[in-house]
Subunit: 345 residues, 2 copies
Amino acid sequence: MSKRSSVPVGKSITVKDVAQYAGVSVATVSRVLNQRETVDPELRLRVQNAVERLKYRPNRLARNLRTNSTTVIALVVPDIQNPFFVAVSRGVEEAALREGYTLLVCNTDDDIQHEAHYFQVLRDESIAGVILCSADERLSHAAVQASRDHGMAVVALDRRVEGIAIDSILSDNFGGSRLAVSHLIERGHRQIALIGASDIYAPGRERRLGYEQAFHDYGLAVDRDLIKVTDFRATNAEAATEALLDRDPAPTALFVCNGVSAIGALRAINRRGLRVPDQIALVVFDDLDWLEAYSPPITAVSQNTRQLGITAADQLLRRINGDPEPVQERRLPTQLIVRQSTPAL
Amino acid sequence: MSKRSSVPVGKSITVKDVAQYAGVSVATVSRVLNQRETVDPELRLRVQNAVERLKYRPNRLARNLRTNSTTVIALVVPDIQNPFFVAVSRGVEEAALREGYTLLVCNTDDDIQHEAHYFQVLRDESIAGVILCSADERLSHAAVQASRDHGMAVVALDRRVEGIAIDSILSDNFGGSRLAVSHLIERGHRQIALIGASDIYAPGRERRLGYEQAFHDYGLAVDRDLIKVTDFRATNAEAATEALLDRDPAPTALFVCNGVSAIGALRAINRRGLRVPDQIALVVFDDLDWLEAYSPPITAVSQNTRQLGITAADQLLRRINGDPEPVQERRLPTQLIVRQSTPAL
DNA sequence: TTGTAAGCGTTATCAT
DNA sequence: ATGATAACGCTTACAA
């Protein structure tokens, strides 16, 4: 057996082994592997054959060091237990996988410190890019800037990042909210309460504005006392809902601005012994799987979560590949799904 | 300004820069950074000062190549949209972060091919270890073995891996199920249907066995026609439930073996216009957040998801650090949370 | 205890 | 078009 074609044993296979087996230089092997320049078809074949025979797998760690880059992207979210972000992550994963990237999901618990820590880790690991659902729209720009200085691409998703030019992908919160509340108005409701739009994030603000716009559309006045801005904890939404239900006159309909708050709102409704929809109508922004299984099935505003993720990932990958197009904000449409929690009054 | 203490500009800071600034060799810097051996306190201080002044951050890619390892672990799950696995991932993340590891979550869609693909990627990236919720208990052992051959640690979570010795962490499915069904029996039910225990995974099998055991405990016969083994799709659970409800006599109680199936079961119940609990009692294995917000709140078996994740991660990290203890299977207790879907008949 | 220097497995420069 | 060789930044023998 000639030395040229002997299969190395023990240690793991490297370009060197492949080169030797194929009777070419490591440079040629590398060129074939990375489809660089033109390589003689004959040699290319020999290399490809060697790769196969030796079951060669490139050492990513070495490649990462040499190119000072990785094929990993990260998705930074405030709460991975929130089904919205989970659904988004499916879309991101799908797009990332398609392009050979690996996805890392980081959970900030809506804490800017956690977020900053994760960004530090991501920089240390030389991640290629980040899709950011900001923990604080007014403070995240620092982490974004620092990461860009390290050559990472960053795009914003669902939430904005203030104070820096950044591609953003969001749902049409305003339109979805306006549509949902219009629906309630058309079904005869006037005392419509709003629960759970955290005012410090774009989605919350925009959903509240959409709510107000619907009233304006119909020439109705907005009763600010019916607007309860709460954060993303179900217990707060529960307390807010109870306060609303205790009013006189009580609201005839509830527009709940997010899925987490919906749980709190329903607990309050049940606690007060009220029946949906006879005593209180209900619309939820976010179409959670169980809303359809509720009794009665609950009307919801559905976001195209998967597409949000795909769109963000595609944009990020374009940036990673150096696409110079101007910074843009993209909006994805929402959809009102009418079920049985909002019959005519 | 002496050359020794000049701050390098432009390129990123390396050990070399730190060494120069501190007036020591790169070896000493490395030793300080990795708290190796004994270093002269004086020098150690100089190095630490230099690190701080230069804002030095070790290049992980270089370290990874040199040590041929990473500080990343992966969690491989069949469905990241399943709240159970999400909750588990929180526990894993918590433990990983605590030890300075980064967590990568991989989604197999219950497809052994996807799983194999991910394992390949993880090997390519020289991940330190994997927590595996197998997509196929009978086939996963190949991927596990291959990964071990590459020096990766692997532990099983929630589901078993057959044909290979592997640390496993599971809930007490049998006990939880037995307790839930006993509860129904004590509340006067005899016609208790079982929905959704996929027989090809340990949790499904064990939950069915627990169901049967409860009947034996009370000296009752098991009616096999009341057992509907379905997979993890809500539509299948829905169809199975409808078939059960159409029986004569119809079951008076439903024991649903997982959260996903619960949605299907409830859709069927609502479709048939039945009221919980007056016409049908209900227990769900898995305490989803919305079960408490349902009307009426639904009795559930709660798994300690966070602890499952922490336990698995801790075990994995021990293995990564070379702990030689014998392979073990650990069981975590479950808890029955009685709500209003299971009153006395 | 400290420093020098040899890799880790790639990619990329520069001759040929 | 191809090959020899120098990095990439770190850890770790081995020498002093």
